[in-house]
Symmetry: C2
Subunit: 431 residues, 2 copies
């Protein structure tokens, strides 16, 4: 198997993509599926609905990769030019495919819609290409060969494209390459550069599995990838990464920080309630995004205004006037009030300055107090200062609250590794 | 102005993109912004974290377009190779940029984090390139010239990339071409094909402004675009679109359905509380994503478990046992309980089956009851059946709840235009 035979290229076609009106989800979906099938995507392109641009992209990508999968531009309107472009790259004329024409006529009849002349354009194919049947729409796909490389042209709508790829393209591709395995190990509490420093030569590009890190909303993910034949090496590397990163690792694959926290609590047969101010429901939404969260998560209070902090969870008015809504005292009172009123085993409370307004010298935008109260334990409260805009501060706040539950369940000795607190002297005195 | 001078190319860099782990949103955002600035994107590419691939893409795109904007691969880890690749395309060595080094050191100090040697890699630039300051993170951007074409290299995280583009790249790009104006008109309550059918020939491709529709989370947006010299025509078309779509239009530009609802309520000096079950905080999070929401939105209750529905907002236990948690009766009791306990002018309640489990023949996954109670008015309750997965059902539910407030404030005569209800006969009887 040559190196090129194990590669692929993906081409997305459409003015709506290149104008930025639509986000291209097909390219990511195809990339992941191709990798599963043993094809590393070496290049992706997006081309406008312009025949010459599409044809040039097809020809260039076919020269660089072992297979090209393109989507879009197969519709019935005059700005759909992918069919013609493939014919140009193949140096062929378009001919009518009788089977496709019959299929399109049948589809229109089933839908009770009238067939127009425009729709029959969709039955055309370059003379040596094959048509791929479309069970979900009118546009057949096409399979041709450009400069010795197979080129597949699929419809743009994901619900038509995906089943066509699975049924008619994947079986032809998989036989040509070796499948890859990939492992995603998720961490929370360390910055991306901290993770990289700790992993050191694991990330250095040498032989063996590929390794890389990505960061999103405070979660740093280490991804390891290798051909299936290197599975033992991949597992060895996975164990090493988990050992190095220790309690910062909360899960792998589809796990989220919220699902890991729910799993922890479920194992301990504990329940959770929340009291949210600046996050306004973000924490509850994260917890309930996981199916089956209802056996752990009871619900809670959105105490966005100060009156709700007093009336709904019993925060003493004097705390609000003396320390302000964004303070250790109010966060603690919110968490303890929520715990008492809910009968939950643990309660999380968040109060902060999400911005862009509302900041002060003592409590700049991004200042957030988070408290965790637990039945029969001391309440833990921490002050954070999150960077970024309003949504970033809110998301980070909800994630940090989840992190405080995780933190309480891991080895306390290693705690300083996980949280970088502000220097003690940085804490502002309240007037 | 030559034709090429009015074009642009966009390059997205990262293994996480090309492996399909992440969906590329930067390319769409940059494409739309570049078009606004008078630059038509003629090609987009995605390259893996591989120096040779990135450098080749930069060089080829610089030969084809008037400006290249690339994102990603500027992190501090060894798999971030965009900086080196730009240097290779420019035929230069990397040198340390003293100002960037000082900026990175300052950022770490502000965050109370320890600076590592790895982070200082981010201060390097090709010798003739300029560094672009990053206010939101550690990675400075770079501006260089390849074969006479300006090439900008920006960090991958959107919240760092977007402000850097606006402040430091857009002003340099706009002067080279004729700016385009674009107008985004947002609607809620109609499907994308309904909008397209109503607009008819407005969307047909002829002369004059470009028009297109996109749909996301139930919001259908009509985008109109034209060179600045056709501004009068653009405004005329905007008026026509607004007239045709009538009360379905809730705003334009940066407006969200939540911000439009908050504006409506603010104008009427009304306050709002929420009672959420299956959405678990999603509605509150949407409302509080808008800065300044606190003068309208008071807060609410996350009554995820039935006990909270009873204890927190006073839903009668007999309603839960007779009709089930997902029923008109319980939705109404949640909304009215929330209204009474909050003292708000309006209260929204949501209860439904978000899935994937929990569905039944009578109440399949996607069945959601939403109620709106208002001081001195009758409570309105509606049953919805949303398609898609758990997150889709939850998001649509929160959006529909906001839609019910909007609906109450627009001409009731036109209501049937806005909501496609299930046929009355489709409503299941509760046992």
């Amino acid at each position: 198997m040559s190196a090129r035979a194990s590669t692929a290229a993906v081409l997305s076609i459409g003015d709506e993509l290149i104008a930025g009106d639509n986000i291209d989800t097909n390219a990511a979906w195809l990339s992941a599926r191709l990798l599963d099938l043993g094809r590393l995507v070496v290049e992706r392109r997006t081309a406008p609905d312009d025949g010459a641009s599409i044809s040039r992209a097809i020809t260039e990508l076919a020269a660089r990769a072992g297979v090209v999968v393109a989507t879009g531009g197969l519709g019935p309107t005059p700005d759909d030019l992918s069919r013609q472009a493939l014919a140009a790259s193949m140096g062929e004329e378009l001919v009518v495919d009788d089977e496709s024409a019959a299929g399109i006529a049948r589809w229109f009849k089933e839908q009770g819609r009238e067939l127009t002349e425009l729709n029959l354009i969709q039955a055309k194919r370059p003379s040596s290409a094959r048509s791929l049947a479309n069970e979900r729409g009118t546009a057949p796909g096409l399979a041709g060969v450009v400069g010795g490389t197979p080129v597949y042209l699929l419809p743009g709508p994901p619900r038509e494209m995906q089943p066509m790829f699975e049924a008619q393209v994947a079986p032809e591709i998989v036989s040509a390459g070796e499948a890859w395995r990939s492992i995603a190990i998720h961490t929370f509490g360390l910055g991306e550069s901290d993770v990289a420093r700790r992993l050191g030569d694991v990330l250095a590009r040498t032989d063996g599995p590929l390794a890389g890190t990505t960061a999103s909303e405070g979660v740093v993910t280490v991804r390891l990838r290798a051909p299936a034949s290197q599975d033992a090496e991949l597992r060895r590397l996975e164990r090493r990464v988990r050992e190095i990163l220790g309690p910062a690792v909360f899960g792998d694959g589809d796990a989220t920080l919220a699902s890991a926290v729910l799993d922890d609590l479920r194992r301990r047969e504990q329940t959770l309630a929340v009291v949210e101010s600046c996050t306004g429901g973000r924490l509850g939404a994260m917890l309930t995004a996981t199916p089956g969260s209802s056996d752990v998560f009871l619900g809670g209070w959105l105490t966005y205004c100060n009156r709700f902090k007093r009336e709904l969870v019993g925060v003493d008015d004097s705390l609000l006037t003396t320390h302000g809504a964004v303070s250790r005292e109010v966060a603690v009172a919110m968490a303890e009030g929520g715990l008492a009123r809910s009968g939950a085993d643990q309660a999380l409370a968040i109060t902060g300055v999400a911005g862009p307004g509302g900041g002060s010298r003592a409590k700049p935008v991004g200042t957030v107090w988070i408290a965790r109260a637990s039945a029969g334990g001391a309440t833990d409260a921490r002050r954070f200062r999150f960077p970024g805009d309003r949504e970033s501060v809110r998301t980070r706040s909800a994630m940090a609250a989840l992190g405080m539950i995780r933190l309480a369940s891991v080895d306390a000795e290693r705690e300083p590794l996980l949280w970088q607190r502000e220097p003690a002297g940085a804490e502002p005195r309240t007037p």
